[in-house]
């Protein structure tokens, strides 16, 4: 059997300082900060580390698709991504800072762009409106059919599929007990804190962090809290390696295109077009008409893409609360239990959100406000 999968000795009575259910970016980030602060932390996932949304998203690190409220968080997270190897024991997702453009092709989109740029700029993002001519100077590969663009000089991207490999050694070095392939089926509150029921036996912890992404609804349900989470099945497309055709991070005013070319020449196309699937069956199948729509938008923006071949299309499961803002903070009515997730463009903000929640779990005042879910609740009657 592979030797690296499980670390840490655990007798039947051992009680971790904190158990984190979910080994995605949010869970790993929280766990890393807690462990470095001296806590004995266990991270559990039914699958492999960062195998869900965290490992299959478009890797866009942009200010231009983020909710205005998340802007301060995204700015700080951007810095953390660019310096990942420094604070993550050499872990590297090949993060690069690049200029970002969000473009408008119609008058309606131009109006949307102006509005959004104004809101984002007010929230602190370094975003400016530029003319079509200026946009084409910044991105020579851009179509001349663009009307207007908003420009952020410090957007960027990373290779999301490297995220798991980037965090794993840092977690293990910090003494985190990482249990991949160990599904948590339920949680019971008891004298010690919490007992997590898993197929490989119970695991006890004084504190609990629920970081299950789209499955957060089921998780908080274990503790009697009803928090509806909407599941999104995002489609992504990648080409084979091609000659350089673009160098910015590109989007459209509506937010429905994300486009970038990596150093190896592959071009990644996304934008939240929906495929077929759900939380219980997982991400199941690509919708061919949405594949076509997404690719048409991309080729409209960067005409040189017409020369490419599509090599792979895949799906990721994303999550959203009723008001579109994150679910980060205490589990209402349950001391020592926390949740983190449903961030929507959570990859960009991820490292900073984990750091913030860890501050709260450690009993400190987080640097920036969390997003407690009391605002969204329908508490189950006991």
């Amino acid at each position: 059997m592979s030797v690296v999968r499980q670390r840490g000795r655990e007798s039947a009575g051992y009680v971790f300082d904190c158990a984190v259910a979910g080994a995605g970016l949010m869970g790993c980030g929280t766990a890393l900060h807690l462990a470095r602060a001296g806590m004995r932390v266990a991270v559990l996932d039914r699958g492999a580390i960062c195998r869900e949304a965290s490992g299959v998203n478009a890797g866009t690190l942009t200010m231009q698709m983020t909710r205005a409220a998340l802007m301060p968080y995204a700015l700080r997270a951007h810095e953390m991504w660019m310096r990942l190897p420094e604070w993550c024991d050499g872990g590297d997702v090949l993060a690069e800072s690049r200029p970002g453009l969000s473009v408008a092709f119609t008058a309606h989109e131009a109006a949307m762009l102006e509005e959004r740029a104004r809101i984002r700029s007010k929230a602190g993002a370094p975003v400016e409106l530029v003319s079509a001519g200026r946009a084409m100077e910044i991105e020579p590969g851009l179509t001349d059919r663009v009307l207007l663009a908003s420009h952020c000089p410090v957007d960027g991207f990373a290779s999301a599929y490297l995220t798991g490999r980037a965090f794993r050694p840092a977690l293990l070095n910090a003494g985190v007990a990482l249990f991949e392939g160990r599904a948590v089926r339920g949680v019971v509150r008891d004298a010690h804190g919490f007992t997590l029921e898993t197929a490989a036996g119970p695991l006890r912890a004084r504190r609990l962090v629920l970081a299950g992404g789209a499955w957060l609804e089921e998780m908080v349900g274990w503790l009697g809290v009803r928090l509806p989470i909407r599941t999104l099945i995002n489609q992504l497309i990648v080409t084979e390696r091609m000659r350089p055709v673009m160098h910015t991070v590109l989007g459209v005013a509506s937010g429905l295109l994300s486009l970038k070319q990596f150093a190896n020449g592959t071009v990644l196309i996304g934008g939240g077009w929906q495929g077929i699937g759900d939380r219980s069956r997982g991400a199941l199948a690509v919708r061919a008409e949405n594949l076509q729509g997404n690719v048409r938008l991309a080729a409209h923006a960067i005409p040189a893409l017409r020369d490419a071949r599509v090599v792979r299309a895949w799906l990721g499961v994303d999550a959203e609360t009723a008001d579109g803002l994150p679910a980060i903070g205490p589990v209402p009515g349950v001391p020592d239990a926390w949740m983190i997730g449903a961030v929507r463009s959570g990859y960009a903000c991820g490292p900073y959100m984990g750091k913030l929640l860890a501050q709260a779990v450690l009993g400190d005042q987080p640097e920036l406000p969390l997003f407690p879910v009391d605002r969204l609740l329908a508490r189950e009657v006991a």
């Binding site: 390696r241 190896n264 020369d307 071949r309």
Partner: protein
């Protein structure tokens, strides 16, 4: 030794990899990296290049471009045909094809 085998040996001695005793359509001209080559129309481009002594089709990211599976699965025989990326083993030779390394 039968006549067919003798013809094959003769063909080999004369330098052709094309097996004798097979009827083929007329040859046409095409070019690879500026070199003018000839092959029967309809022969696969992969075969035509091989028969013309071209084994190394270009440089790929992880290995040289070359023939491997001959059936369109391995993606190792990629070339540019009239500017478009194509698999040589799936491309029939036509007169005037402009082929370049991919």
């Amino acid at each position: 030794m039968d006549a067919r085998h003798a013809a094959a040996i003769l063909a080999r001695v004369n330098g052709s990899l094309r097996i004798a005793g097979i009827a083929r359509p007329a040859e046409v001209e095409f070019s690879f990296e500026g070199r003018v080559l000839r092959a029967p129309v309809g022969e696969s481009l992969a075969t035509a290049l091989l028969a013309s002594g071209v084994l190394r089709l270009g440089e790929g990211p992880g290995a040289p471009r070359a023939l491997l599976c001959m059936m369109g699965t391995c993606q190792q025989c990629l070339v540019r045909v009239d500017g478009r990326l194509a698999q040589a083993c799936l491309t029939p030779v036509r007169a005037g094809l402009l082929v370049q390394a991919a």
